[in-house]
Amino acid sequence: MSLNGKIALVTGARGGIGRAIVARFLREGATVYAADLTPEGSLDKHEDDGSHFVKLDVTLESDAIAAMNQLRDTHGKLDVLVNAAGIEIEKTVEETTLEEWNRSFAVNSTGTFLASKYALPLMREAAKSGSSASLINFGSYDGFIADPGLAAYCATKGAVHALTRAMACDHGPEGIRVNAICPGYIDTPMLQSFFNGEGSGGGGGNIETLQKAVRDVHPMRTYGTPTDIANLVNWLASDEARYASGQLWVLDGGLSAQVQQMRF
């Protein structure tokens, strides 16, 4: 039970990765606030898991303020914030409309900014207990190297990476650690959507075939699962990670350790 007594809020908590994080946090003894647009998030349904649902559109300043006020009134502190809310537009720069570009940044980058901005005072309170508070952003391996047809997404994740380092620098002296996890290919609704997109290199081909090809290019010969990501989120949230800050944690089954692979 590495998170006993900790108060955690997860955005995008009812999405693919978010649900795994919430489940792990609950198992580790945390009090968990699951923030999302709807109780179902990006999946079809949701069954009660013991987390507290908070309706939160991360692009709205008023929603971020309301969520953090609720935590202040109930607990007076926040030990762990996970900014997992994110969207992906499967397009090149030319194809991307200004509205889509702005929407991508509003959710992935501004959303991370807003939730962090209003969580920081509560995290400073948590740090007064003597163990550091932990803020965990979601970058992506796409913030380092690009996938085809994901221009705006790649750019938003690059912004999250830089913001992560900046916040670590500014708020470390206040007892707040800031890290980002950079997932590779994780089996989620977002990955399925990427495979369905024209720009993914599938060439209208069979999705199953493409999935096999993607799997085979990973040294671990598999996609990641939301649980793989939750395992690292849990470690970063725990006091075991008390010296980990300002880092971008790539978790991709070895994908980006290798140079481009010849396919034939």
Binding site: R165, V178, N231, Y243, L251
Partner: protein, 246 residues
């Protein structure tokens, strides 16, 4: 007990980070073997197996790997540093630093990989100095960059049955850190300046490194491979040009 039933081989377990990893692995239920140059150190738990070993000697490493009969977890931690620039470094310095830090990691990986079971994990101790240079540490910096490159190669060549990652510690409170400050004209001031450059406002401890080693060794890290994980209290996330220190 996240490492119950696993066997671990940790090089350089006499002191500092290696000793911290040995103790943390033990606490998590692993059966731990460690080694170093010279006699068994004082205070090492009786249940830990100790071998006298110079990792730069390939024959000696092969012999120990055979004697140990493989391992589930290999931690290549043994390392030395010589505080010199390229122009100052002697052939003996090269043989020592590259022999232990680079060839030693190669020797151990080559000897143990064929003896490691499915699901095994290699953890190399790289360094932030393999990514950004510490002044007057030329051979050390280069040896750690070698470790980073070898880590990726092992992950790519020996997956999916084997995972391989490196931990890149920043400034950890060990004898090696003090040796670094001794190079300064005013070691006390240098120490304070260095602390101010850490967002978490302290140096690391061997336990800080051991905690990520436990995670990488455990099945929690099943999808983590080929990566360099920096644990430095945020130091390298900040620009070295820090106007607050002018």
């Amino acid at each position: 007990m996240r490492l119950a039933g696993k066997r671990a081989f940790v090089t350089g377990g006499r002191q500092g980070i290696g000793r911290g990893i040995v103790e943390a692995f033990q606490k998590e239920g692993a059966e731990v073997t460690t080694c170093g140059r010279g006699m068994r150190p004082d205070g090492l738990a009786e249940t830990v197996t100790w071998y006298e070993l110079d990792v730069s000697d390939p024959e000696a490493v092969n012999e120990i790997a055979r004697a140990a009969g493989g391992t589930d977890i290999l931690v290549n931690n043994a390392g030395v540093q010589v505080e010199k620039t390229v122009a100052e470094s002697t052939d003996a310095d090269w043989d020592l630093v590259i022999g232990v830090n680079a060839r030693g990691v190669f020797n151990c990986c080559r000897a143990f990989i064929p003896l490691m079971p499915e699901g095994a994990s290699i953890i190399n101790i790289g360094s932030i100095s393999g990514n950004v240079a510490d002044p007057s540490m030329a051979l050390y910096n280069a040896s750690k960059a070698f470790v980073h490159g070898l880590t990726r190669s092992i992950a790519v060549d020996h997956g999916p049955g084997l995972r391989c990652n490196a931990i890149c510690p920043g400034w950890i409170e060990t004898g090696m850190l003090d040796a670094g400050f001794d190079l300064a004209q005013d070691p006390a001031r240098a120490r304070l300046d260095a602390l101010t450059r850490h967002p978490v406002r302290r140096f690391g401890t061997p336990a800080d490194i051991a905690s990520i080693a436990v995670w990488l060794a455990s099945d929690d890290a099943a999808f983590a491979t080929g990566q360099l994980f920096t644990i430095d209290g945020g130091m390298t996330a900040a620009s070295p040009l820090n106007p607050g220190l002018f």
